[in-house]
Amino acid sequence: MTASRRQLLLGGAAASLALARPAAAAEPSAVEQLERLLVLERRLEHAYDTALARGAIEPELGDTLLAHEREHVRGLEQALRGLGRREPRAGAPPPEAGAAFESRRAFARYALDLEDRTVRAYEQVLATLRAERLLQPLGSIMASGAQHMVALRQVAGDDLLGVP
């Protein structure tokens, strides 16, 4: 695949999130589901930001994962605006546990747990969300989170597929 075609596809995923407007009026359940995902994505964003500041993640990997989380947050906020939510609500991330940042391996395990919970939340939302145009772009974010898990397992020294 050429770089330009890939960029077009990736750009399309982000644009789909921004433009997705279901034919029906905004459904509270859809908004609530997206806000739940937004809370989780902001928590990941905060975790990577903190880890970078404390040296708890290798800088290149941390920069990449943080940039991805910011894209995910931006996409979810745009999707929520498309559903009629002007000011997307998502609670402030909780204070991060200090022990999680004591070493790069410890942080990898901590972030792996957060990513896993987030991927499972996407799976649940994708099974029930009625805003059909959002399914594919949300799925592309979930798939990115699944790849983050592989990157973090490598840092943690685990099997890449999570096989015990």
């Binding site: 596809l9 099974a127 594919q136 798939a143 890449l160 999570g162």
Partner: protein, 168 residues
């Protein structure tokens, strides 16, 4: 008893059928089972071209593809359908690119996993039932993981993009 009576009289119910109804999702699920069946054969061939960790992961990923095909096959059977059976390795082999070494094998593996990710993400919009969509989402996440492992085996970053769309 009432249901038995209605059925014996015709009762307005559709006639018994051994085929799933149109729009049930069975057709789409079967098309993905066929793709997974090809994937199972492909990962066997890819594993033969790899060594060490690469071969070990090829085997593990092939096992996951078998589980995916079985899970989707169960959904198809639950709809009254019959999932496609796997063809012989020789039949699939003629469809695969020639692999001259590990680089070719990983390139093929990447293309295969991109296609599988895309198939599941596309299916999310078309599958009518939540259990079907749940299965598609869970398997899509695993295919994305498999793709990340291929990236690492090829010497790249596991997660290069913020949106993993797969390719056709």
């Amino acid at each position: 008893m009432a249901a038995v009576t209605l059925a014996s009289c015709g009762g307005g119910d559709p006639p018994p059928s051994d085929r799933p109804q149109a729009g049930s999702g069975a057709g789409l699920l079967n098309s993905i089972v066929a793709l997974e069946n090809a994937g199972i054969a492909a990962w066997a061939a890819i594993g033969e071209a790899l060594s060490g960790e690469g071969r070990r992961y090829a085997r593990a990923i092939r096992e996951r593809e078998i589980e995916h095909a079985e899970r989707l096959g169960e959904l198809v059977r639950g709809l009254g359908g019959t999932p496609p059976t796997r063809r012989s390795a020789a039949e699939y082999a003629s469809l695969f690119p020639r692999m001259r070494g590990e680089s070719d094998a990983l390139h093929f593996a990447g293309d295969l996993e991109e296609r599988l990710v895309r198939a599941y993400l596309d299916a999310l919009r078309s599958l009518p039932h939540s259990d079907q969509r749940r299965a598609a989402a869970e398997i899509a996440a695993e295919e994305a993981e498999d793709l990340a492992v291929v990236h690492l085996l090829a010497g790249g970053p596991a997660a290069p993009q913020p949106f993993v769309t797969g390719t056709l």
